[in-house]
């Protein structure tokens, strides 16, 4: 009975002492505490990251854009893109100068910088970061071949470096993967000079060297941390990962030993008074060169916060708790006068600024060319697909789901790359809606009003938006008499369907890995059919030949002509309908300086600062 008394009196105490002033005091204290929890003395960037963020910081395991962003703070690659220059231009990062390419375009000679050290980390003998040498570069590349690492990036290296494929096969079959075994195409000259020999003079290779998957990391760290390397990166980059709260927050701190790298200097107008690159004047006006010559990184600390939903990120931005945000389409009309795409005065008054960034991306609907009903290369089959393309209304989709801010273009080459049609429209195209022409083509193909055609089965992802878009397409196809069944699957089932060629018609998107149309054109190359990247299973000999030619051609008018030829083939055969490229609107507070966002590469946070 005694215990009972104790509990009772405790409760009694609680209920009597509990009063409203207590609550008020509590609220007041947290009001005071809130702002105090933020430091003032150092430069702290507070940046958002959509979704739950990266899964792994191991360069060879990462694949998504978010892996890319998070890894690019800590890791560096041999090459990188110039921050402000457009169109994109590569420059050396870990290298002293751009690699020298031999006459036949197959041998690349590299020279590493002499002042690059890994982050200080207990994995090194005395805890001090060691100098980066040739072996580290080769080791990092070889990790992409080791299936024990579950690399997601082998496709970048496949059939590229001389002897690398064979090395991969041998070592994975061997009892132990031997990183010291030689690869014919990786030639070490000394600690900071080396050569890489390719099978063929692939143009893509130099872009690969700027992708985060080829980041350089030390063998000690991998052997010390094993699997945990994906959570505990040791690189050479401007920041060091200090804290990672999965799905919530990542905190980076400036790397105190970062080598002397300076903010790009103002190139000034060219002698003939033309700007040195596209958009120079604007950059200059925005004060992008105010920090010229200052040592990087400019910020002391970066706090990356992950948001699964847009609403909290948006509210936090409005309350100035984030330095910038992507404007989700649902918040677009709140912030912008849609008609003019200008910021509303109330937002301007708070010192916000807009940066619009057209993405190198391609939202499309694709056909399986091996499908007995809707695939195939005969004229009749082609006309059916063209008719379907003509019945679709991408403008309506754009209006209904993206607030009309997307860019619609013909063919598979996104805007800004060689081979993109002028005015976004190809001379011959099958862009809808043009129901009359669609009906004519159907008639010509022997299926007037869709007669004799089985229902078209469409696969798309399970998100509410993709689903609604599919229903819209179905409504439009019904107008020309084609029945479409919508199947919404989650991402893994959808990929599975692609792999087994099980989807006659599907909706997907592709984001370019590097700024060269080759990356998009390879999606239609016959030998890359499912289960590889060619989900269309498009296989036209003429096209394949052209692809084999262009992938070893440097940029030139002849190559562009071939791109156009390939693009027109795709438009004519209609393995895909589309495409649409999203435009990203960024909103920033005026305290954030030097902000020129980019999604093709992500290592630009080192240039940002707060003033």
């Amino acid at each position: 009975m005694k215990q009972k008394h104790a509990i009772t009196s405790l409760l009694q105490l609680f209920s009597l002492r509990f009063n409203l002033t207590g609550v008020a005091a509590l609220i007041l204290t947290c009001g005071l505490l809130g702002p105090f929890s933020y430091g003032q003395s150092e430069i702290v960037l507070r940046l958002p990251m959509p979704t739950t963020g990266p899964n792994s910081l191991d360069p060879v395991r990462g694949a998504s854009q978010y892996d890319n962003v998070a890894a690019s703070y800590v890791y560096e690659t041999l090459l990188e893109y110039e921050y402000l220059t457009r169109p994109y231009k590569l420059k050396p990062c870990l290298l002293e100068s751009m690699p020298e390419v031999s006459e036949d375009g197959k041998t690349f000679s590299f020279k590493l910088r002499d002042d690059i050290y890994f982050h200080d980390d207990p994995c090194f003998e005395d805890g001090k970061g060691r100098k980066v040498v040739t072996r580290d570069v080769f080791y990092s590349l070889k990790r992409m071949a080791d299936t024990d690492n579950q690399p997601k990036s082998w496709w970048l290296m496949q059939d590229t470096i001389k002897g690398f494929d064979q090395y991969r096969k041998e070592q994975n079959e061997a009892e132990r993967f031997d990183y010291d075994a030689p690869v014919a195409g990786m030639v070490e000259i000394n600690d900071h000079e080396f050569q890489i020999v390719l099978n063929q003079p692939f143009i893509r290779f130099q872009y690969t060297l700027a992708m985060f998957q080829t980041s350089v990391l030390p063998r000690e760290a991998v052997e010390h941390y094993q699997d945990r390397i994906s959570r505990h990166p040791v690189g050479t980059g401007p920041f060091i990962l200090e804290h990672w709260e999965t799905g919530l927050q990542m905190v980076y701190r400036r790397n105190p030993n970062y080598r002397d790298v300076r903010y790009p200097a103002d190139p000034g107008m060219k002698d003939d008074a033309t700007p040195p690159y596209q958009g120079y004047a604007q950059d200059k006006a925005l004060g992008m060169y105010d920090c010229a010559g200052e040592r990087l990184p400019l910020a002391d600390k970066v706090v990356l916060t992950m948001f699964q939903k847009n609403a909290p990120a948006w509210l936090k931005f409005l309350n100035k708790e984030l330095d910038y945000t992507r404007v989700a389409s649902e918040n677009f009309s709140q912030a912008f006068i849609k008609r003019k795409r200008t910021l509303r005065p109330s937002f301007e008054a708070q010192g916000m600024r807009v940066v619009a960034l057209p993405l190198l991306d391609m939202v499309y609907n694709g056909f399986n060319m091996e499908d007995p009903d809707y695939g195939g290369y005969t004229d009749q089959k082609k006309w059916v697909r063209q008719a379907i393309s003509l019945a679709m209304d991408l403008d309506e989709v754009n209006e209904a789901f993206y607030d009309g801010i997307n860019l619609i273009y013909d063919g598979p080459i996104p805007s800004g790359l060689d081979g993109h049609p002028e005015g976004h429209t190809a001379a011959v195209n099958y862009r809808g809606p043009n129901l009359q022409k669609a009906r004519e083509l159907l008639k010509k193909s022997g299926h007037p009003n869709g007669e004799g055609l089985p229902p078209l089965v469409y696969y798309t992802s399970q998100q509410a938006q993709s689903r609604e878009m599919a229903y819209m397409t179905a409504r439009n196809l019904k107008k020309i008499g084609i029945k479409m069944e919508v199947n919404a699957l989650d991402f893994s089932e959808l990929s599975e369907k692609m792999r087994e060629k099980g989807a006659p018609f599907f909706g997907l998107a592709w984001g370019s890995d590097y700024p060269d149309a080759e990356n998009n054109l390879q999606l239609f190359y016959g030998p890359f059919k499912s289960p590889m990247s060619n989900n269309f299973n498009y296989d036209r000999p003429q096209y394949n030949e052209l692809y084999e030619e262009i992938r070893v051609m440097p940029a030139s008018p002849e190559r562009t002509a071939k791109y156009v030829k390939m693009r027109n083939m795709i438009i004519e055969d209609v393995p895909m309908i589309g495409a649409m490229a999203r435009t990203r609107y960024y909103l920033i507070h005026d305290r954030l300086k030097n902000f020129k966002p980019e999604e093709t590469f992500s290592n630009w946070v080192k240039y940002l600062t707060i003033k």
């Binding site: 939903k309 948006w314 649902e330 709140q334 005065p345 399970q462 509410a464």
Partner: protein
Amino acid sequence: MNRIKQMINTREAKKLWRNKLALVALAIIMLYLLAALFVMAGGISRVTCDTVIGPNKMPGFYRQDTPEKRYENSTKKFLTKVKRALAAEDVEGALSEVSLGPFTVVNKSPAELEMLVAEVDALAGELNESPNLDIDPSLLPKIADLEAAEAQLKAPLTAWQQFVYDVSILLGTDAQGRSIFLRGIYSIKIAIQIGLVTAIFAVSLGAFLGAAAGYFGGWVDHVVVWIYTTFSSIPNLVLLVVLAYAFTNSAAKDTLLPVYIAFGATFWIGTCRVIRGETLKLKEMEYVHAAQTAGFGPVHILLRYILPNTAHLMLINFSLLLIAAIKSEVILSYLGFGVKNQPSWGIMIRDAGNNGDVVGGFFWEIGFATALMFVLVLAFNILSDALQDAFDPKHV
């Protein structure tokens, strides 16, 4: 049947009839049922709910939108469609296919239409000079002119069409331009359907197993208790989500079946417990003993003497489960595991959250869904309170 009749005539039932509040609640529930029946009879179809009837995020109660939105509404959607049709090869045919909700193109020659479009364009062009229509009240008459000019392109509606349209936009439109009112009403059917199906299933399963366990005891009791302990040892929401998720790629993924199964599997436990306890008590009653000595089989006794005497408990549990089902549906749909392909209150609340409604200060969609749900759940709460007061006043 006799038992139920008896039940209706008891003192308890009369007590229920005297409870004014409960009667109001009952009337409200009947109203909802009528609405659900109306939807089921085809009054509002799924297609109607998904049809775009006008501009997006239109405010309700026929309130005027902001000038910028009004400009946008008059120069997009319908006008774009008309322009595209006028540019087509077969103009007449293309024009006949233009539609936006109930609106079609007015019966005029293409040349006349071209002129009307030019008129709209001229007005729009003038307005387009202004950097921000929202802060320039002097342009309001012009916007009204623009709207009038654009309205000339639309064929006049019949009285019935106009009535249907007015009802549809009573509470405005959602982010895609679909009627909030119709979607909300349609969702009543979904809520009632899910509530009834799962409550009937869960109560009958729970009552059957509970009565059997209580009456037979022994290993039957052990098995039943074992099953429900197992199910209740998995956190409720986890079980719901995992069950619903297990169906994501099956053929039934777009139907309500996963929801039924998920709710059915978790909801029967409470009823089963209560009925088992009651049966343990009833088993010792004299009339049951009498029936046993008279030689009736156990099934007969269960069906005739025990289950009917737990009817009041079943009724109370039934109304409690209905509430639980309706509320859980909203949360499950919100998380993306519940209703798909058709509107429901959860979907509406989710859409309102995802489409920036709340953040942007547009409360029509979330408000209507919440209000409808609130009134129904409130009515059921009051009713089940009254039921409990009347039939089971000692219940804790």
